[in-house]
């Protein structure tokens, strides 16, 4: 990011500290979810997936996600299928072309990167597809353990 100082450029080779100026609070599957991101398109995509905007800033969210945009890569992210890996603590989603998302079952923390050609746009088709995969896979994992045990 241009806003990074030169020191950041040296020590932020993994893009860990890209500023995330947008924050959305939602209700989803009965849980409070906070999503921080650097693109409004991610928040709009979440709303499209059934995340209900929820303005109660006093309430601490059980689930906190950070989603960072990647510049466009080739081939298009949408050409790549989602691959899911699960261990006892984490869910990892690989969605090709630099896109991924990881979720920690115990802490509720999640983070990932999504390809959005124009991060300034308010909507993006690939962001919708990305959020759709996350909602589906994480949603499955948030079901009672007895249902989830078929995977483990």
């Amino acid at each position: 990011m241009d806003s990074h100082s030169s020191v950041d450029a040296i020590t932020d080779m993994m893009h860990r500290r890209t500023p995330l100026p947008f924050c959305g609070r939602f209700l989803w599957l009965g849980s409070s979810v906070t999503i921080q991101t650097d693109s409004q398109a991610v928040l709009r995509a979440a709303e499209g997936m059934g995340f209900l905007p929820h303005g109660d800033l006093e309430q601490e969210s059980q689930i906190r996600w950070e989603i960072v945009t990647e510049p466009t890569s080739t081939p298009q992210a949408s050409d790549c299928k989602c691959k899911v890996t699960i261990d006892n603590h984490s869910l990892f989603l690989s969605m090709g072309a630099g896109q991924w998302f990881a979720f920690d079952f115990e802490s509720g923390d999640g983070a990932g990167f999504v390809v959005i050609p124009n991060p300034g746009a308010s909507t993006d088709a690939n962001a919708v597809k990305y959020l759709s995969e996350i909602a589906c896979q994480v949603g499955n994992c948030l079901q009672p353990a007895s249902d989830r045990s078929r995977w483990l």
């Binding site: 984490s90 630099g98 990881a102 983070a111 483990l152």
Partner: protein, 329 residues
């Protein structure tokens, strides 16, 4: 889509406890080759004794056929408690830094590439894990004589590697030419910071062959950051000795001088500490405590050291001689 559950994969039951910078790490894999590469890089923990402390982190690597052609490589990304790195279309390494667990997969072809594992992949995995197990990686070369260590720190291009080789040829044991790992050791009442190196190749840019003709017997190739460089094992190429660890007694900040010659200046410890700490990647959120600990380890390591700035514009062997003389060695 069928999720791949880590618990379903058939791993070799013989996991290993290995030491990274003095910290025990559990290494599990279904590949005897990967187990061998890890053993070549890291010493075994508590040989022939039952472990007295739990492993600080686990690395689980599984070799299997892969089919993910969509990405560009290498790819290093991290956010919050998570990181993901990839080197080729045939590998993927996931990190949950809160639980200190790494899960990786690679293709059988990649498992055959021992050099790549020892030079790039395992050091990168250990580097990303380091903050969570109280290890501070610092961008500095390290040499030792009689257990007393000299850290040579400087920005890329400052001449760390060439000066390190020249110093090693003068009788210093070499720990590292680029990344040195600091960690505490001992009882809480009397913790002692040790500097550790990994037995990986040194990296020298092509023009180093002007000073070190031994390099002409090797081939320069593309390194991990895209630079063309020689990556050679210093014992083999230069006949120098290596050391695994030492206590830091001297810190030298390197600077390329505008005028020919070499000059050494004593500097304050806090200047050296600030330089080394500025190279560490800040971590936030749940990992903020890990970052604070890394800064503390660096401060402790330099706490009793003599600190210098060395400005040089001379051939490596002459610069090494001048530095040795200035340090009274």
């Amino acid at each position: 889509m069928t999720p791949v559950a880590v618990a379903e994969t058939a791993f070799d039951p013989s996991s290993q406890r290995l030491l990274f910078a003095g910290q025990p790490v559990l290494f599990c894999t279904n590949s005897p080759k990967l187990a061998m590469y890890a053993q070549a890089l890291l010493p075994a923990s508590e040989n022939d004794k039952p472990p007295t402390t739990p492993a600080r982190a686990s690395i689980t690597l599984h070799v299997r056929e892969m089919d993910e052609p969509c990405e560009t490589f290498p790819l290093f990304r991290a956010r919050g408690n998570f990181a993901r790195i990839r080197f080729t279309p045939g590998d993927s390494f996931w990190f949950n830094l809160r639980t200190r667990e790494v899960f990786g997969t690679c293709s059988p072809e990649m498992a055959d590439d021992g050099r790549r594992w020892c030079v790039h992949i395992l050091p990168a995995i250990l580097g990303i894990l380091s903050a969570t197990i109280d290890v501070a990686p610092i961008h500095a070369a390290c040499l030792a004589r009689k257990g007393r260590g000299v850290l040579l720190a400087g920005h890329s291009g400052a001449g760390k590697s060439t000066l390190t080789i020249a110093m090693a040829r003068r009788g210093h044991a070499l720990l590292s030419d680029d990344w040195t790992y600091l960690s505490e050791e001992g009882e809480p009442a009397g913790l002692d910071v040790q500097a550790w190196g990994l037995p990986v190749p040194v990296k020298l840019l092509p023009d180093a062959s002007f000073f070190f003709p031994e390099l002409n017997a090797f081939r320069a190739d593309v390194s991990l950051n895209g630079e063309i460089a020689y990556e050679v094992f210093p014992e083999e190429c230069f006949g120098v000795t290596r050391s695994e660890r030492c206590q830091v007694s001297t810190v030298v900040l390197l600077e390329r001088g505008a005028e020919p010659g070499c000059n050494t200046f004593r500097i304050r410890r806090d200047e050296a500490v600030a330089h080394l700490q500025a190279q560490v990647e800040p971590l936030e959120g749940r990992l903020a405590g890990c970052y604070s600990k890394q800064l503390e380890i660096i401060e402790s390591a330099v706490g009793q050291a003599s600190c210098y700035r060395f400005c040089f514009n001379d051939q490596p062997d002459k610069a090494a001689e001048a530095l040795d003389k200035a340090l009274g060695r």
